[in-house]
């Protein structure tokens, strides 16, 4: 499809782009940053309104923007994630008066970058969109001026990320050399021929390095705790959800289209990495004292569970990834919303700030308990549905060992999630009762809580929509 024909399917993205530039311009002239923040929300809402499900897969812009149902799901995903993150950052004091408008503008670009990643269908677009996403993430992580931790986190993220994407690029050049084309489907067809198999395996490993970094997969997860701790908390919330989810999306596309012909080896490698990721994440999470670090390790462990769905490379595996990611989006953003609220009220990021939360703010404590239980995968909450599907996918494909390891890991995870619940309910409070929560955080908390409960109690409503 040529450029002019494509434009009418490209309206949500155009709105995002125009909105982003408009926000940056307005930010120069307007003193009251509430107007800028209102504009970003308006842009996102408009963009959400124009998102339409494509009837068939649309090869927009000569197939450089491949819009199919899979990409369509992630369009919604990206817009919702950015929307919630923006609401969270409105009531986060450290970014007040720190080029606040630019912060919001960058998030609009972020939404655009996320959608590009979801629709990328050839090596050039994969590389460009992933780099776009990474560059924006580096900037957002180091956003707080004169903050020693934020700058350190940004530099670590930058160095680690650039090296990983350089390695991925080298893998891309090998895949291009073998097939003579940048299209994933052509590459996939080339790798059917036996002489290319060893080269394909090498190229796949290079891809796993670059995208494993994005999804914080085990040998490449070292950046995650440091970056999550140093970044402004709303950015941490965002990084733990959206880039990770899109990393899974693009990794799945590459595996399913480009390297399907390799057969068993990719599954085995991913299985091993999945076990490693969840075990490392869970074991290290036990001994954490900082809330953001704790959630970082928990999110590494969650990435391990999602990798189970990727490792089986089946239809059920794909569906389980989508379901798990949706459940994880709302659960994790909810947990971070509570973390931001507690940080705002106590000025403390440590787990100790949560002690006796049930006396200081009973509603918040109850909500946090729900989110933590959902992360642990206790029915009837969203996390349970996600876990159920991931386990089902593993068992259906006869990955018994993987399922057993994951089950053991879930028990370990339950232990440290319950540790926080115990801290909130069974230890005496260390301070006065919280004053009323800021409005935007209340909105986020209610929204995420409703979705987490609804997804657990009426899963069919969500499953029908995801699987159609």
């Amino acid at each position: 499809m040529n450029t002019v024909e494509s434009l009418k399917y490209f309206i949500p993205e155009l709105i995002l782009l125009v909105g982003a530039f408009f926000v940056f311009t307005i930010d120069f002239f307007v003193k009251n940053k509430r107007i800028v923040s209102g504009l970003t929300l308006l842009t996102l809402t408009l963009s959400l309104c124009f998102v339409k499900q494509p009837e068939t897969a649309l090869p927009l812009f000569y197939d450089f923007f491949h819009l199919d149902n899979f990409a369509h799901f992630f369009r919604y995903f990206a817009l919702i994630a950015v929307f919630i993150t923006l609401l969270l950052s409105y009531s986060y004091t450290p970014i007040r008066n720190q080029y606040e408008g630019e912060f919001y503008g960058l998030f609009l670009f972020m939404a655009f970058a996320l959608i590009l990643v979801a629709t990328a269908n050839n090596l050039l677009m994969i590389f460009l969109s992933v780099e776009f996403l990474s560059l924006l993430s580096y900037l957002l992580v180091g956003f707080l001026k004169n903050d020693r931790k934020a700058k350190e986190a940004a530099i670590k993220y930058l160095l680690f990320g650039s090296v990983c994407s350089a390695i991925m690029l080298y893998g891309m050049s090998l895949a291009y050399g073998a097939s003579g084309s940048l299209e994933l489907s052509t590459i996939g067809n080339t790798f059917f021929f036996a002489p290319f198999k060893p080269l394909a395996l090498v190229a796949m490993l290079f891809f796993l390095v670059g995208l494993g970094f994005k999804i914080s997969m085990a040998p490449f997860h070292m950046w995650a705790p440091d970056v999550y701790e140093g970044a402004p908390t709303p950015v941490t919330a965002f990084l733990s959800v959206a880039p990770k989810a899109l990393g899974f999306a693009i990794l799945f596309r590459i595996m399913a289209v480009g390297f399907l012909s390799l057969g068993r080896p990719p599954s085995l490698i991913l299985t091993a990495l999945s076990m490693l990721t969840m075990t490392l994440g869970n074991i290290t999470a036990i001994s954490q004292n900082n809330m953001k670090r704790f959630l970082a390790y928990s999110s590494i462990a969650q990435a391990g569970y999602i990798l189970m769905g990727l490792a089986v490379l089946s239809k059920l595996g794909k569906e389980s990834i989508l379901i798990y990611l949706l459940a994880y989006l709302f659960t994790n953003l909810g947990a971070f919303a509570v973390a931001i609220l507690v940080e705002e009220k106590t000025g403390n990021e440590d787990l100790a700030a949560f002690s006796g939360l049930s006396q200081r703010s009973p509603v918040t404590a109850a909500m946090m308990a729900v989110f933590l239980l959902s992360l642990a995968g206790i029915p009837p909450l969203a996390g349970f549905i996600g876990k159920y599907y991931v386990f089902a996918a593993a068992l259906q494909a006869k990955f018994i060992m993987l399922a057993v390891i994951a089950a053991i890991n879930s028990v370990v995870a339950a232990y440290y999630y319950f540790r926080i619940v115990r801290l909130m309910y069974l230890t005496p409070a260390s301070g006065p009762v919280f004053s009323a929560a800021p409005k935007s955080i209340t909105v986020v908390l209610c929204l995420t809580l409703v979705v987490v409960l609804a997804m657990g109690i009426f899963p069919s409503f969500f499953l029908d929509r995801i699987l159609s």
Partner: protein, 103 residues
Amino acid sequence: MIIPLAHILIFSLLLFATGLYGVLVRRNIIGILISIELMLNAANINLIAFSKSTSLSPETGQIFAIFVLAIAATTAAVGLAIVLALYRVRKTVYTDEVHLLKW
């Protein structure tokens, strides 16, 4: 004189290995950034070399290489900006002196 593809590939692999080695052993952040550029350039050489030897669509590899150059420039710009910001608050550009965050 036409250089055989194998020679170019070996050269690019060496360049890539040099870059990776630099990333792993350098302490100076600027040095690491330069090593990353080497790795990107190794991939670029691969792309150009392959674009000459494949018959399908020789121009795509070259276009990809140009895009990589642009991305390398943006990464360097963002990277140096962050290094400057780091230097302002921490007065150091050495990786082993940047150790506030650890478990």
